[in-house]
């Protein structure tokens, strides 16, 4: 189950960076890019919390600039 969550999270991150690259290369329209980035965000937002805090350090969150 955790492996599946990680795969969806990875897909979410991929969808956050690949569509902009495709837009830059002229292979994707702006509206499609925004849609896929939104899908990527949802994928990351709803899967990463279930595994990421077990792996990464609990950082001193952003009081710095």
């Amino acid at each position: 189950m955790k492996t599946l969550l990680k795969l969806v999270s990875l897909a979410g991150l991929t969808l956050s960076i690949v569509p902009p690259v495709l837009l830059f290369l002229g292979k994707m329209e702006l509206d499609s890019m925004k849609l896929w980035m939104g899908v990527g965000m949802v994928a990351w937002l709803f899967t990463a919390p279930f595994w990421i805090n077990e792996k990464t350090e609990e950082g001193r969150s952003k009081t710095e600039v």
């Binding site: 956050s16 830059f24 965000m41 350090e57 009081t63 600039v65």
Partner: protein, 467 residues
């Protein structure tokens, strides 16, 4: 184990508050690399990059200035903060208490808390610019100091209330959420740069250079804004976290480092957040200005939404919120040092109220560069005091940790170093027109000199030995 380590650092249940960190709890460079990488991609980045564009920074000045300024910041962490942190292994507050005394630390806490409130307020305002998009909220402009509409006030106060309630509930969940969102936010900044450049017509290295120089950072400030030179960029990048490095706040973090070289780990965070993210958000703002010629509107939410869609707007909300929330919590902790008998939730509620009121004023966002510089400047002299006490007490012949070793709760040399340094900086600004970004450097030397001279008078080593 790593989780527990950082919970100790950030949480209210900080261990080793009044004792040096033992060898068993020390951490290697990797731990600090991960932590610093995440924490410098914050809500402020959505404001600082665009403000550089608005201030008419030239492209070459920006890139070179950020490279030099960030390098100086990394060196300040590594060569000034980290060696003291790994030698003393104490929190900033306890170290300061031993040198300056409890009564001086109370004032330091008060100033710190107020600055945290205003910083959190600016981040709530940043989030509000994205939250207001579906409601067609009229956004603030570059020259606004006061709220434009009642709708802005209502949005900010509601958002402030939510953020405060979450802060009252505790800190760890928000901290975990921030960690979850950190990799995604960093990618969004990269995406912003790629999409922005595409929309500005960049298709080759040559066009990248010409667009950067002629469109994005064209060296012409927007109406009503002063022009920034390379020196502004260098000093801002160096001193935007002045409170943390030469101001010594990060003693609390780096005291866990096995070696002083962990101070260099900050380079990852600084070059991601204060180089990539500032450049990316500047590009986003340039796209917005191209699409809205002559617009004075300055609202990170709509700027990100226009280029990246819903992901951009959510990124602004998350970045602002995850910065505001722990900042409110930390302001509460600082105030609790002054009023230890008042319940934590009451203190946090009061801090949240002050923060929400402050957030109503767009001036906090529009003048964020000045505010960040002021925040560091106000706290920096106490870092200089710690530096001088550590390096010069024996060489210059005065007792180290004056308050502790004289059994006092009040050190006049420390207080005067703080007050007189700020008076000196104010004088440079008022009489000679030196901008706030440049005051930190001379101020640091003045603070060190005042502390050494007054400590020699007040706590002479010979007198101590005789006694």
């Amino acid at each position: 184990m790593a989780n527990r380590f950082f919970k100790k650092i950030v949480g209210g249940t900080n261990e080793y508050e009044r004792t040096p960190v033992p060898a068993a709890s020390l951490k290697g460079n990797k731990s600090f690399l991960g932590m610093y990488a995440g924490e410098h991609t914050a809500g402020t980045e959505f404001v600082i990059g665009p403000l550089f564009v608005a201030h008419g920074v030239a492209a070459g000045d920006l890139v070179l200035g950020l490279l030099i300024g960030n390098l100086l910041a990394v060196l300040s962490w590594a060569l000034i903060t980290a060696p003291i942190a790994t030698s003393k292994r104490m929190t900033l507050y306890y170290q300061l208490e031993r040198i300056a005394g409890k009564n001086v630390v109370r004032w330091y806490n008060l100033v710190n808390a107020l600055m945290f409130c205003f910083l959190a307020g600016s981040m709530i305002a940043v989030s509000a610019t994205a939250v207001g998009i579906p409601f067609n909220l009229e956004m603030p402009t570059l020259t606004d100091w006061l709220p434009r509409t009642p709708g802005w006030i209502v949005t900010v106060l509601l958002l402030g209330a939510v953020v405060t309630m979450v802060a009252i509930q505790g800190y760890n969940q928000v901290s975990k959420f921030a960690n979850v969102m950190s990799p995604w936010m960093i990618l969004i900044f990269f995406s912003a740069a790629i999409v922005g450049l595409s929309q500005l017509g960049v298709g080759s290295v040559e066009s990248l250079v010409s667009v950067a120089q002629e469109v994005i950072w064209n060296g012409v400030p927007l109406p009503g804004m002063s022009r920034f030179s390379i020196w502004h960029v260098i000093f801002f990048a160096w001193f935007c976290n002045m409170a943390m490095h030469i101001g010594m706040s990060d003693l609390t973090i780096l005291r866990y480092a096995k070696s002083w070289t962990s101070g260099f780990a900050v380079f990852a965070g600084v070059y991601l957040g204060h180089f990539v993210a500032w450049i990316a958000s500047g590009i986003l703002y340039a796209v917005f200005l191209q699409a809205n010629t002559g617009s004075q509107e300055f609202a990170p939410g709509p700027i990100a939404y226009q280029t990246l869609g819903i992901a951009g707007a959510v990124c602004v909300v998350v970045a602002g919120w995850t910065t505001a929330n722990p900042t409110i919590y930390r302001a509460g902790l600082a105030l609790q040092g002054i009023f230890p008998k008042v319940a934590t939730w009451k203190i946090t509620a009061i801090v949240g109220g002050i923060t929400s009121l402050a957030a109503c004023f767009p001036a906090l966002v529009m003048k964020l560069l000045d505010f960040v510089a002021l925040y560091g400047l106000l706290l920096m002299p106490m870092g200089a005091v710690i530096f001088a006490d550590f390096y010069f007490s024996k060489k210059m012949g005065f007792r180290e940790e004056g308050a502790l070793n004289s059994g006092s709760d009040f050190s006049l040399p420390a207080l005067l170093s703080w007050v007189l340094t700020l008076a000196f900086c104010l004088g440079l600004n008022y009489f000679y027109g030196i901008e706030i970004f440049f005051l930190g450097l001379p101020g640091w030397f003045v603070a060190v000199a005042i502390f050494v001279i007054l400590s020699k008078v007040k706590y002479p080593l010979a007198k101590s030995l005789a006694a």
